[in-house]
């Protein structure tokens, strides 16, 4: 009935060719395997396609610069870099003696070949440094310079993201330039992948500190409860991570009672915000937005929905984001103050709802469980909290496609938005989700106002020492206008079994936690 053989055949040959691509001697003596759960298959790890899961790239591919957990930039395939004083070029000194796992050398030529696959391409104009790229020059066998049309203050930070910035062996593409195998310079080499697992072996020629064990298995376990059961039974060694295999706060709390399992939490780098539509007549008044913020019981949300594994926040970005602004104190819930805000703005309360000039306040909260899991419950809780102030909320839960249709056209009063998190922030969220004249695509915008645009543009274009102050002006404007309503910053949650003797969190949740991990008790 359905011709599946062709596909099965292609899948089979891919696995074979991958195995043939690395020398036999690479499979070293047995000294341990780490099994990490992933919620969906890794896919072919094509660096230019928005398909494969983000978290698996970093074990195979390196970037020039890597992001450290404190927000600093550390050398990777580039040993050092210099930004020109006018900000219009960046020179990189590449690491010497690095080879791809198929034996191809990494040098200025292969680096530029890689960069030109995406820099200046229309598909990647959302990356500032790609959009501003004028040309790239090879200055020596291991020296390159990226020349820019205008300075890109966040350019170096952008060089640390997951894709497409990482480096692929020039032999791993077909005649049309499409990637055919995931061959990088990273600590691990893919030996096979399918929809149940991705198997990797240690890259014995890795330039950095080699892993302590020689096999890594990324096992696909789509169900969250099945993952925690797998961890308890010993089938899995590590679970968790927003982009790897999310561990729900509820499960984390119940697993803490288990002696064989260790739960690790750390402050997250992304926050969940209540975003107001710039076009909504219901939330156009600042007083209404302030009343909404005052009505929220953030601590109850943290306690009930996140089981304590989140931090109530009044900031757009959590404190661990570089240039993320001064920490603001979270105002505790105050229903009377919220009502006061409403009354002084001319609203009058009767029969459990507010009205003004014949208009009754009823706010539509647009949510999609598929685009933000758990958002329906969060919406339900917020609906109950706002009801006590007399603010009526109607929840519209829609599918993933509809929310992506309605958000760009601002067909809602309120919706939940999540900041991108490290290493994409603050410039990623600010540049893509706040500027009124930028095409934000299907994600829509957190907030947009023509008054904000010049302040935000200045901040994004300012580099060096003045950057923090200019960024602070943006955050102050957002705060003074009650333009966004931050709710919580969910914590990073991981759990590991007693097979793991030492666990080190990766720099961001976009990376797999393998570096520094040790096996055995």
């Amino acid at each position: 009935m359905i011709n599946t053989n062709r596909r099965v055949f292609i899948g089979g040959t891919t696995a074979l060719s991958l195995a043939a691509l690395f020398p036999r001697g690479l499979i070293a003596a047995e000294n341990g395997k780490l099994t990490i759960a992933i919620s969906q298959e890794t896919g072919d790890l094509d660096l230019l396609q928005n398909v494969s899961s983000l978290s698996a790239y970093s074990v195979v591919f390196d970037a020039l610069i890597h992001y450290a957990s404190d927000g600093s930039l550390v050398p990777a395939l580039a040993e050092s870099w210099t930004e020109a004083s006018d900000g219009k070029s960046i020179s990189f000194k590449l690491r010497k003696g690095v080879t791809f796992s198929d034996g191809e050398p990494f040098n200025g030529e292969t680096a530029v070949w890689n960069l030109k696959r995406w820099m200046g391409q229309p598909d990647f104009s959302w990356i500032g440094i790609s959009d501003a790229m004028k040309n790239i020059t090879i200055d020596g066998t291991h020296e390159i310079t990226i020349h820019l049309k205008q300075p890109v203050p966040a350019g170096l930070l952008e060089m640390t993201i997951v894709r497409p910035v990482r480096f692929l062996s020039p032999k791993a593409v077909d005649a049309s330039g499409k990637q055919i195998a995931p061959i990088g310079t990273g600590p691990w080499v893919v030996t096979s992948y399918d929809n149940t697992k991705t198997s990797l072996v240690r890259n014995e020629n890795y330039w950095g500190e080699k892993p302590d064990f020689n096999e890594l298995e990324l096992k696909v376990v789509p169900d969250e409860l099945a993952r925690s059961n797998g961890l308890r039974s010993g089938d899995l060694d590590v679970i968790g991570g927003e982009w790897v295999a999310p561990l729900s706060p509820r499960r984390a709390r119940s697993m803490q009672k288990n002696d064989d399992v260790t739960v690790i939490s750390a402050p997250g780098t992304a926050s969940i915000l209540l975003a107001f539509s710039p076009k909504s007549s219901m939330v156009s008044e600042q007083a209404v937005r302030e009343a909404i913020s005052l009505s929220l019981d953030r601590n109850a949300i943290v306690k009930i929905l996140f089981e304590g594994f989140a931090d109530a926040t009044a900031n757009v970005f959590p404190g661990n984001i570089p240039a993320g602004g001064k920490t603001r104190t979270v105002t505790p819930r105050d229903v009377n103050a919220a009502k006061g805000k409403m009354s002084s703005a001319g609203w009058s309360e009767s029969g459990g709802s507010w009205s003004k000039g014949g208009k009754t306040l009823e706010i539509e909260l647009l949510v999609s469980e598929e685009s933000l899991p758990g958002s329906r419950r969060l919406a339900e809780m917020i609906q109950g909290q706002l009801a006590e102030t007399g603010i009526k909320v109607a929840i519209s839960s829609v599918d993933n496609a509809t929310i992506h249709d309605r958000r760009p056209s601002f067909e809602y009063d309120m919706t939940f938005m999540v900041t991108y998190g490290a290493p994409y922030d603050p410039h990623g969220t600010l540049a893509n989700l706040f500027l009124s004249d930028v095409d934000s695509g299907p994600d829509g915008k957190i907030y947009a106002h023509t008054d904000l645009d010049p302040i935000l543009r200045t901040a994004l274009e300012t580099g060096g020492a003045a950057r923090d102050a200019k960024m602070q002006e943006v955050y102050d404007w957002l705060d003074n206008n009650a333009a966004v309503c931050p709710i919580v910053a969910p914590q990073r949650l991981w759990a590991y079994s007693s097979n793991v003797s030492k666990f080190v969190l990766s720099a961001t949740d976009y990376d797999m936690p393998t570096n520094g991990v040790k096996l055995g008790s």
Partner: protein
């Protein structure tokens, strides 16, 4: 025969078939009076009493937002039965009109209509409803519309059969000879027959519809928060399954009880109250594919 009380109950049920109406009537009464008999507001959250077990204050305990479970379950009756009634009435309305029209006019129009009906019936109702929700998007009214669009065809097919059999009755001929108009004949003589049979059949379908509504809500495609709906309550409780199975079991039991009540009624109708013709109907309804080719079945059935 064994004379246990258990059997006595069964025999009583056989003797007074209307006894099976009792549970359904109880649920309908709860649905009507629910705003006055819930001990608490079913949507008000109280974070000081989250996830508490049964107590004097909360007979069935509270959920993860501190809402009273008993109140939510009681309100759930209203939500389920209300949605079910709307779908049933709408589907009956559309089905009876289209089906009777097809049967009455005959010819090519009938052929086209019966083809559409058969195609709709070639897919299980819930699959068809899911496909429609996929097109128009989820939500309460989407769910109502999708279920109506999936359910009407059954009633249309049945109405058409009744109309055709009635048209062959001598008294219709008589009425026609006496000069009655089409509309008069239809409303005066045919429609009452159609309705009496189709409504009986529909009441037996109510249980299946309550299940369908709960299933759609369970899949996250139905009722919006904070409306207490059993399928939604059950899926919300699933993440507390290990520590607080009560949150899953209570709405599940409520749902099952309502469906059992309606199915009991339906079974009674099918076995005792319903004319033999319709019983045969029920079995043959399963052979939908064949009916596409064999219109004669309908006549054959009525002649039984």
């Amino acid at each position: 025969m064994d004379k246990s009380t258990f059997n006595k109950t069964f025999n009583a049920a056989a003797k007074w078939p209307w006894l099976v109406l009792t549970p359904v009537l109880v649920f309908i009464a709860i649905a009507i009076f629910s705003p006055w008999i819930t001990p608490y507001d079913p949507v008000v959250q109280d974070y000081s009493v989250t996830l508490e077990g049964p107590s004097a204050a909360h007979w069935l305990g509270t959920d993860y937002l501190g809402r009273d479970m008993l109140s939510r379950l009681i309100s759930g009756v209203r939500v389920s039965l209300f949605a079910m009634s709307i779908v049933l009435i709408a589907a009956l309305f559309i089905g009876v009109i289209i089906g009777s029209f097809a049967g009455y006019v005959g010819g090519k129009i009938e052929l086209v209509l019966i083809s559409i009906i058969d195609i709709v019936l070639s897919l299980p109702s819930l699959i068809f409803a899911l496909a429609i929700i996929g097109v128009i998007g989820p939500g309460y009214w989407s769910m109502i519309m999708a279920l109506t669009m999936a359910w009407w065809a059954n009633y249309a097919r049945m109405s058409r059969a009744v109309v055709i059999s009635e048209l062959h009755q001598p008294y219709i001929e008589a009425a026609r000879v006496m000069g009655s108009g089409h509309l008069h004949i239809f409303f005066r003589h045919i429609l009452p027959h159609v309705l009496s049979l189709v409504i009986v059949y529909a009441s037996a379908d109510a249980g299946a519809l309550v299940l369908a509504i709960a299933t759609l809500s369970f899949l996250g495609l139905g009722v919006e928060p904070p409306t207490p709906e059993w399928g939604q309550m059950l899926v919300d409780g699933m993440s507390y399954l290990e520590e607080y199975p009560r949150l899953v079991i209570l709405p599940g039991i409520a749902l099952t009880l309502v469906v059992v009540s309606f199915n009991l009624l339906g079974e009674q109708f099918a076995l005792q109250k319903v004319p033999r013709a319709l019983r045969g109907y029920k079995l043959k309804r399963k052979k939908r594919q064949r009916q596409l080719e064999e219109d004669i079945i309908l006549d054959g059935k009525v002649d039984q």
